[in-house]
């Protein structure tokens, strides 16, 4: 007997989000599960942003550091290298040096860095704080102002600081990342709080919190799948922003991306292992529903792009 293709159609659709001005990137817009183009529309491919920092990446493992070499000594050079040499679709600038436990640089300093980077690149910019709830509230406001009218992504707004950050993103016409702690209800709740302030849901990007392969990946995977299913089957508009997976920072701190082959011969080549760890984490996040990825190693990015081309 021939098989009647068991297709699914859904009531809901993920919002389509465009970022950047001179060169733009578009993601979201589908009314089906990830890559399920056999069920409906998948107008855009996921977008991968290269992560850079406002200080040299002393804290990154050698395997990634050495790819960038001297280019990473300065954020403008680093951004240009990603754009021109690595064909980055977007760049994610992490203002890590503003963290009180790090260099504790001021919001003004951060704003200057943002401006300098924006003045030199054409591709869209994602501006990330240091993940310190209090400090981000001032740093990201200054950064949003410095980036005014450039249609950037500002993040991350969390339960403890969403008010000031969303207000700034709204005033300066940016997109906003809303991050919650690995829980579908918390994600929804934050979405509601932010939209209640008047921020348009169509301008939001949800970050349900990433985790690395072998270190809680299954939690992120299932939370993302559940969010996407709620968006599609229940047509729940708060769950319909595209999702972000901030991969590099979780992957490049786990043991599998650092331990030498001499110490752990059973784990094989460190170089490939690290790249595979980032690529496989990214692949799983894409299958679970992420449309925007932030990654570090160019070889991992290239492999994931080839993978995306196969759909």
């Amino acid at each position: 007997m021939a098989l009647a293709a068991p297709k699914e159609t859904y009531a809901g659709r993920v919002f389509e989000v465009t970022i950047g001005t001179s060169k733009t990137a578009v993601f979201g817009g589908e009314n089906v599960l990830p890559f399920h183009k056999f069920d409906g529309d998948t107008p855009h491919k996921p977008v991968i942003a290269f992560e850079i920092q406002d200080v040299a990446p002393e804290d990154w493992p050698d395997t990634v550091k050495e790819v960038y070499g001297d280019a990473a000594s300065d954020p403008v050079k680093w951004a240009l290298y990603c754009q021109n040499n690595l064909n980055a679709q977007a760049i994610a600038l992490r203002l890590i040096s503003t963290h009180p436990d790090r260099e504790n640089r001021s919001a003004d300093d951060a704003a200057k860095t943002v401006k300098a980077v924006l003045d030199s690149i054409e591709v869209p910019l994602i501006i990330l704080g240091s993940n310190n709830v209090e400090k981000d509230a001032t740093v990201l406001v200054a950064a949003a102002e410095a980036a005014s009218s450039r249609n950037c992504v500002i993040g991350k707004a969390q339960e403890g600081n969403y008010k000031t950050i969303s207000a700034a993103a709204m005033a300066q016409n940016h997109k906003l990342i809303a991050m919650s702690d690995l829980d579908i209800n918390l994600s929804k709740q934050l979405g509601i709080l932010i939209t209640q302030m008047g921020f348009e849901k169509e301008r939001m990007i949800a970050d349900p919190m990433c985790s690395a392969l072998g270190y809680g990946l299954e939690y992120t995977y299932s939370v993302m799948e559940r969010i996407r299913l709620a968006a599609l089957t229940q047509n729940d508009v708060i769950m319909q922003p595209p999702m972000l997976a901030d991969i590099g920072m979780y992957v490049w701190k786990v043991k599998e991306t650092q331990a030498s082959e001499a110490d752990l011969p059973k784990w094989g080549s460190l170089k490939e292992r690290g790249i595979a760890w980032e690529a496989v984490t990214a692949g799983a996040m894409l299958l679970a529903g992420a449309e925007l990825l932030i990654m570090r190693h160019p070889d991992a990015v290239r492999s994931v792009q080839k993978f995306i081309e196969e759909f």
Partner: protein, 446 residues
């Protein structure tokens, strides 16, 4: 197709004799429909009813076991599309391909690599599960010789024998009786002969068709010849096609009870680009394949795939956990340092691994925190000062050690004062935050 309670009722004796423990046949039928009772409970049910009900109550994916030795692979039995609904049952097997035209040395190297592939992660032993032996030579004698030699080198390893030539299949299967391999290569043109061979040798038949429609027809045709155990291949090779076909197969079998595709799926991920191969294999693991064939098994690749498989196939309701107790690592004497952590498997294996690395004999007190990590357990109120104090007191460890000193994880340094208050006479030492700093830390303790 699953039957309703009323449909089942029609097949029962309708005597309401109560021998099944239910007041009426109808009540029993309702329980059967909800899968809360087993048909065996009714002694008077007819053979015909048994057959009809048996078919209707068969699981959506036929359970099939590949191999016969100590390392068999269970496949099928899946009941859901998404892992948050219910635990995925039988983890996708990883197989590596060798060809009968490969040199003897390269086959030996592949078998050695395979034997060497086993590693332990979070307390589970993980390894490449099967060898896929492909006939390329066109020579049945050469093929059967290759199969025999691999089977001799790796006697316990489940085999997938790949050929579309029934004569080559026959020659190879004769050499490895009783090993319950998969014979992969039945297609539209050779189906009858391959089915005969599969029946004769009692092996699992791998069925290939160029698309899902043709596949569904072919499995029905083969089933009619009496072959029950199949693994299926819809010809999908790109990531997009694999996702589409595997999704359709899962949905058809589970939601529509379509029996003709209710078999474990075999997928092929081989790529010249090994990183891309790892990604395509990841897709197969996450999205419903039961076997994925790889071109090679570099250690980094297997480690990443094993880990992903472990993540996808864990129980979403119950985190992996270890037993609450005080573990001795190395020859821990009375003066060995004592540390405490939670019973989340990942936490336990990371921490105990680093303590082993340090070569410092030590004790690790593992407290039941319902399988939560240190910070999660702390945030959830399951790793608190009073619970820690109570656990240490009740463990009786005090009598075995010379120095009443407890090392706590750096992330919960905030607990140190409260623990000291609740454990009179004890000193609390705050350890490093990350376990990888433990070796250096433990050495300074000595």
């Amino acid at each position: 197709m699953a039957l309703s309670g009323v449909e089942i009722f029609k097949l029962l004796p309708k005597t309401n004799c109560k021998k099944c423990g239910h007041p009426t046949c109808l009540a029993f039928a309702m329980k059967l429909a909800q899968r809360q009772a087993s048909l065996d409970a009714c002694p008077d049910v007819s053979e015909e009813a048994k057959r009809k009900l048996g078919e209707a109550s068969a699981p959506p994916f036929r359970p099939i076991t590949m191999g016969a030795g100590n390392s068999v692979v269970n496949m099928g039995e899946e009941t859901v599309l998404f892992r948050h609904e219910k635990k995925f049952v039988n983890p996708c097997a990883l197989a590596v391909e060798v060809k009968d035209t490969d040199s003897e040395e390269s086959i030996k190297a592949a078998v050695d690599a395979l034997r060497d592939s086993e590693l332990e992660r979070v307390g589970q032993k993980l390894r490449i599960d099967a060898i896929f032996i492909k006939e390329v030579s066109g020579d049945p004698a050469k093929f059967s010789q290759t199969v025999l030699s691999i089977s001799a080198q790796a006697p316990d390893m489940p085999l997938i024998i790949s050929t579309t030539n029934p004569a080559a299949a026959e020659a190879a299967l004769e050499k490895i009786p009783g090993t319950r391999p998969v014979l992969y290569g039945a297609n539209e043109s050779n189906a009858e002969a391959m089915a005969e061979t599969a029946k004769k040798h009692k092996v699992i038949l791998g069925v290939y068709a160029a698309n899902l429609d043709a596949l569904s027809e072919l499995t029905e045709k083969i089933k009619a010849t009496g072959v029950e155990d199949m693994v299926i291949d819809s010809g999908a090779r790109t990531a997009g096609d694999i996702l589409r076909d595997n999704t359709f197969i899962r949905r058809a079998a589970i939601k529509k009870s379509v029996k003709s595709v209710g078999y474990p799926v075999i997928s092929f991920a081989q790529r010249d680009d090994h990183m891309l191969e790892a990604l395509v294999a990841s897709l197969c693991i996450a999205k419903y394949s039961s076997i994925v064939v790889l071109s090679s098994i570099e250690k980094w690749k297997s480690l990443a795939l094993f880990t992903l498989r472990q993540n996808i196939y864990t129980d979403p309701q119950v985190p992996m956990q270890v037993e609450q107790k005080i573990y001795s690592i190395g020859e821990a004497g009375a003066d060995a340092p004592l540390m405490i952590t939670t019973n989340f498997s990942l936490t336990f294996f990371i921490v105990s691994g680093e303590v082993e690395n340090s070569k410092v004999p030590a004790r690790l007190a593992v407290m039941d925190s319902e399988g939560l990590s240190v910070l999660t357990a702390w945030a959830a109120g399951k790793f608190t000062a009073s619970k820690i104090a109570q656990f240490i007191q009740e463990s009786g460890i005090e009598k075995e050690i010379s120095k009443k000193e407890l090392i706590i994880p750096g992330y919960v340094s905030i607990l140190s004062g409260a623990i000291e208050e609740k454990l009179p006479g004890w000193k609390v030492v705050v350890g490093p935050r990350e376990a990888n700093a433990l070796p250096a830390f433990l050495k300074t303790m000595n």
